[in-house]
Every structure is written in structure tokens, then in C-alpha cells.
């Protein structure tokens, strides 16, 4: 092999530096800004400070304590409740999604016959049919005036599930091949932009009195991330040969025993990476928390948003400080499960 010309090597490293710079600069800016005093992070002087000249913890202090009545920091509330809120709802939502998602994924991986790749026209056709079927009922429910109440929502939801299953069954009668009865219903959740889902959810949640509660948020986070858990875990379970379950079952284990003693421990790398992924999704969510919380349970992203107002201006320094704090849990989580992340990719139980 011939040595590449020097300019190529230089160019390569320059490109690498540019890309790395693009990715790391925002982080760098956040970290340094968190330690800058107000004179340095505010743009009042028109000077840019690349490195904090007088490092200080002032921003952390500001964001973590409550000020009242001081002149421009009027009604500045502490970020501590939002940190607590974020931790509870993110972990809760992740656990909820993992619990139902992992079981569903195992079921789909081992016991479902209706899996496999779904043609796009079947997917879209099902969705269109479902909407068509539900539209008149929606009008009827609205006319009856019950759509805003919990019993209206509940009956409509059950109707939707029923209609979806009916469409699946009918499709299966005329179409040989995967119609995606179950797996697809799960994926349907992710086919809309989240905004389109969150507003109806907000109406429903207010009918169920779930707005601004931690369990209301946990339920939404669980449901929204559930499809990710199912599809990720299903692929991990598919990797584990069926013979392992069968061996455990022949040796006397029940289906649950085979799952908990053999399959789940083997998939723990996958479980760990799925958990991290889902946790980060929940942790960084802004939209859902913004619409479903008001006073008691706003999460960190929602609180960050409140640091900009006409009254107090843009609090960049405290924002950066809180951002830095918010980075800690995912990073710690990631480091803790790093061992499993690596292992999850390399296990090879069986010779094929």
C-alpha cells in the first residue's frame, strides 16, 4: 500500500475536526456558560468570552434557590421541584414502557404468527380505514355531547380498539401474508407527529383529571415509548434462539420461567440499551410535559422554558447551569450500563 499524500491526511483530520467541533461546541458553550458570571454570559457589552474569566457557581445558586421580590428576578422559583418531577416521571415512564413492552415483545417474538414485513399499502390502508370508520362515531359522540367526558372517551377508545381489530381480521380474510394485527397496532402509535397526539391526550387527561399529576405523565410516557421498547426488544428476542426457551421448557420450566430465567437474562444487554434509549426520550421530552403539566409537575425542559420571560429576560447563565445538571442522569446511567451495552452486542449463544 502506498502512503497517501500529506495534504490528504491533513484534509482528513481537518474535516474530522470540523465535524467533531460542530457536535461538541454547543456542549462546550453550555458547560462554560454555566460557570460564567452574569457580566460574561449576558451580551450587554458585546464581548464574547470563550473561557470563563471569573468562574463562579452563581448560576447554580440562582437556579436552585427561590427568590422573591428582588428587583429583576421577580418570582424566580427554584428548579428543584422540576428536577424531582423529571426524575420521577422519566424513570416511571421508562419502567412502565419496559414492563409492558418487554412482555409484548416476547409474545410477538415467540407466539405471534402475524409478524413480518408489512407492505406500505396495507399499513396506510388500515389506518385510513380506521379513521373512516371512526369519523361518523366521532361526530355522533360530539353531537351527543359526551366526547369531553370520561365515559365518552372510554367508549370511543374501546370502539377504536374494536374497529382496529375488526379491520385486521377482515383484512386477514382477504389478504394472505402479514396484516400486522398486533405489531402494527403498536406501531400505529408512532405514525403521527407527537403534537397531533398530545392535544387529544390533553383533552382526555383533563376529563380523567390526570393533568399535572406524575402518574398522568408516566402513563403518557409509557405509552409513547412503548412501541420503541416492543420493536427493539423484539429484535433482541428474535436473536435468541427459540431452542433455548424450548430447552428450558422441556427441562420443566413454565413459559414464564423460560422467559425470566433464560431469555430475559440473555437479553439484558438489549434491555439495558433499550432502557437508556427510552429514558433519554422521556428525560428530554418538552412537548408532552408542557401540555400536561401546569403548576406541580413541570419537568426540567418545561422549567427551562420558563427561564425566558418578558419580566426577567433570558436567563442564559442559569439555563446553562440547569442544562448541565440535566445532563448528569443520562450520562451516569449510560456509564453504569456500559458493560451491558458492549456485551449486548457481542453475545453469541449458539452456533448457527
Amino acid at each position: 500500500m502506498t502512503q497517501r499524500p500529506t495534504w490528504q491526511i491533513v484534509l482528513r483530520y481537518v474535516l474530522v475536526l470540523i465535524v467533531v467541533g460542530l457536535f461538541t461546541f454547543p456542549t462546550y458553550w453550555m458547560v462554560t456558560m454555566a460557570f460564567k458570571p452574569k457580566v460574561e454570559w449576558s451580551t450587554a457589552h458585546g464581548t464574547i468570552y470563550w473561557v470563563p474569566q471569573n468562574p463562579t457557581l452563581e448560576n447554580f445558586e440562582t437556579v436552585l434557590t427561590e427568590y422573591r421580590g428582588k428587583f429583576f428576578r421577580a418570582n424566580q422559583s427554584s428548579a428543584l421541584p422540576s428536577i424531582r418531577s423529571s426524575i420521577i416521571v422519566s424513570i416511571g415512564g421508562t419502567l412502565f414502557a419496559l414492563l409492558i413492552g418487554t412482555l409484548a415483545a416476547y409474545g410477538l417474538s415467540r407466539f405471534s404468527v402475524d409478524t413480518g414485513d408489512l407492505p406500505w399499502y396495507i399499513a396506510l390502508g388500515r389506518l385510513a380505514l380506521l379513521i373512516l370508520v371512526l369519523l361518523p362515531f366521532m361526530v355522533l359522540w360530539a353531537w351527543l355531547g359526551i366526547i369531553r367526558y370520561w365515559y365518552g372517551i372510554l367508549t370511543f377508545t374501546l370502539l377504536g380498539i374494536g374497529a382496529d381489530q375488526l379491520i385486521g381480521r377482515l383484512l386477514a380474510l382477504y389478504y394472505r401474508g402479514p396484516t400486522g394485527s398486533l405489531a402494527f397496532s403498536i406501531l400505529q402509535l408512532r405514525m403521527f407527529p407527537p403534537m397531533a397526539i398530545v392535544i387529544p391526550v390533553m383533552i382526555m387527561w383533563s376529563a380523567f383529571k390526570l393533568i399535572d399529576t406524575w402518574y398522568g405523565l408516566v402513563a403518557v410516557y409509557g405509552v409513547v415509548t412503548f412501541p420503541f421498547v416492543v420493536w427493539l426488544m423484539k429484535s433482541f428476542f428474535d436473536e435468541i434462539p427459540r431452542e433455548l426457551d424450548e430447552a428450558a421448557i422441556v427441562d420443566g420450566a413454565s413459559n414464564w420461567g423460560a422467559f425470566f430465567k433464560v431469555v430475559l437474562p440473555l437479553a439484558k444487554g438489549g434491555l439495558a440499551s433499550t432502557a437508556l434509549f427510552v429514558f433519554i426520550l422521556n428525560w428530554s421530552d418538552f412537548l408532552i410535559a408542557l401540555l400536561l403539566t401546569t403548576r406541580d409537575w413541570p419537568t426540567i425542559p418545561v422549567f427551562l422554558n420558563s427561564l425566558v420571560s418578558s419580566e426577567i429576560g433570558a436567563q442564559h447563565g442559569p439555563k446553562a447551569a440547569l442544562g448541565l445538571l440535566a445532563v448528569i442522569p443520562p450520562v451516569v446511567f449510560g456509564i453504569l450500563i456500559q458493560r451491558y451495552l458492549v456485551r449486548g452486542l457481542t453475545f453469541g449463544a449458539i452456533k448457527r
Binding site: A247, D251, G252, L266, G348, K351, R352
Partner: protein, 367 residues
Amino acid sequence: MASVRLENLRKEFGPVVAVKELTLHFPDGKFAAILGPSGCGKTTTMNMIAGLEAPTRGSIYFDDRRMNDVPPGKRDVGFVFQNYAIFTHMTVAENIGFGLKIRGVDEATIRREVGKIAELLELTNMLNINAGRLSVNDMQKVALGRSMIVKPRIFLLDEPFSNLDAAFRAYMRGELKRIQREIGQTMIYVTHDQVEAMSMADHIAVMDFGVLQQFGTPDEIYNQPVNIFVANFIGSPNMNFIPCYFRSEDGRGYLVQRHGDARVLLDDQRRQLLERHPGNQDLIWGARPEHLTLHAQPSHPEYLRAMVRFLEPLGPKTVVHLELGEKDTIKVIAHPSYREPAGTVQWIEINPKYLHVFDAKTGFAVR
């Protein structure tokens, strides 16, 4: 120990029929093999015996108890899979002791039993190693041990040695046979390898396309194949098949080659049999390469004239491929030092004792 009886067992996967009306009896304490090419339904049969798959129709009996509705964990069978199905997140000892642990046996007993099994399989010094780090040979031993420890009434092995290296496979064949004879364990062994079936089994069931072709001892399967499939499947190199028809001349019976003029003289018993056979104008005769002899001179009038096409020297023997008539080729096993060049004319001696005759339409042996 128990015997296994299958009655009209049928398994369908959608439109595919994997096993067709299988009726079989595996005797108690014997080593039986299910032999057939891949996709013949042998693994499906095994899974149904173990309870991993439910039959579409038919019954499975262990001794006299109908097992169809008994869940797999309660059937008291041991199952060894082709790909070991080792639990890689456990140590060797945990793997072997798994069945006992599931049954709630106390730790001390488990340790003692695991020790015994490990000694039997020469795994004692590996008990605390993570099972995922074993070699494939040791993995299969662990899989055997894991099934043995619960002392199953029936031991099912699904091509357990096909991933092992050749030397170790031969060793394990011997070991398995020894263990089976020692404890008189009922074993059912699924394989596509005729050598494994022939060398270990007391009885062999040959299957093809979900249909049982023949059930018998290795000798019966080899010497009296009931149809062309069995005759062709058993033996390496496989049997020669020459399309022919029956002709009677001067009180002597011949099988005349369809694409040529080679004639095989029949003994009196065969002649009488074929005279009465309605399809005697459309036959196939078969002879195993090891039952044919090559001669340089036509020292006997009934030798068949053939021409050498190429040789396959295999070490302990040489397979000679010859041209018989216009279209047919015939393989003969010759002495390892046989080195006649292509084109040489040779004379083939057929021992009528080892001649097989099949009906070309039905494929069944004419008996």
C-alpha cells in the same frame, strides 16, 4: 424408562403437511433413530414427542399413557438440540443443574448430582466456567448433561453431533451408545447422517416428505430396503439404479437394460416372482457399489460389459464410475490400488443375492 408409540400422527403448518399419518412404536430401553433428508418431518416428529409442538391429529403414547395434553415440562423427556441451546449466562454447573433447580431440589443434592454427571462426561474441571466460553464440543457435552440429570424416561436427541468436528463426533457416537447400553435408556435420535443411524441405533425409521418409508433394524434397512428412496438414501456411495424390463428365455429370467443391452440373469425364485408381477416391463434393478466386482476379462458369460469413465480414489477404497450402455452410469467399489485409465473396458460381476428389483412406477421393491 418407557416405550413411545405414535398413532396416525399428523402435523400441518398451514398448507404444508410436515408429518403424514405416522404410526410407529419405539420399544422400551432401545436406541431408535429417525433418519431422513432435511425437511422430511423428523424434527417435527421429535418436537411433537417432546410436546414442543401440538399434533394436528393423532396420538402420542408413552407406555400406555396418552401424552397429547401433557405439557412438555411434565412429560419427563430429555431433549438435546442440534445447536446445544446452552444457557450462556450461566456457568457449566448451573446449566447442568437447571432441571433440578426448576424442580425445587435443594442445593446440596443439586451439587452432588451435577458432580456425578460432570464426572461421567469429563467436565469436572470446567464446572465454574461460564458456559458461553466453552468449545462447541464441551457445549454439547453440557447439553447432554443438562438433559441427563433429570433422569428422563425418554431421551430425545435432535442431530446433536452435526456441529461437532469429525473426530469428536466419532468419539461421542461411541460414548452415547455406551451410556445408552449401560443404563438401558430409551433414546430417539434424529439424524440425516446414515452413518450415525446405522452405527448406533437398534431400530431405524426412515422418513421422507413426512411419510414413514421403512422401520426396521439397520440390517433390514440396508439389506432389504422396501423402496427406491430407502435403497438410495442408505449407503455411500449410493446404490446403482438401472432402468430395465423383465424377459423370460428358455426357462431363464433376465432383466434387460432399457437403454442398452446389458442383461442380468435372475435366480429361479426371483424369476418366478417377476413373472407374476404385473408391472414387470417397467422395472429398475439396483445393486450397491460394494456388492459389484470388476474383472478385466469376460471370464463368465453373465458379466456386464462397461467402460471406465473416471475414478474417485478415497484412500481405503476406490470408487470406479463406469458407463453401462448408452445412458446409464454405474459405480463399483474397487481395490484402493485400482488405477485403470478412462476408456478401459471392464466386466462387472453381479451377485444375484445382493440384487434389488423395484417397480419403476410405484418405487416399491418387488418381493
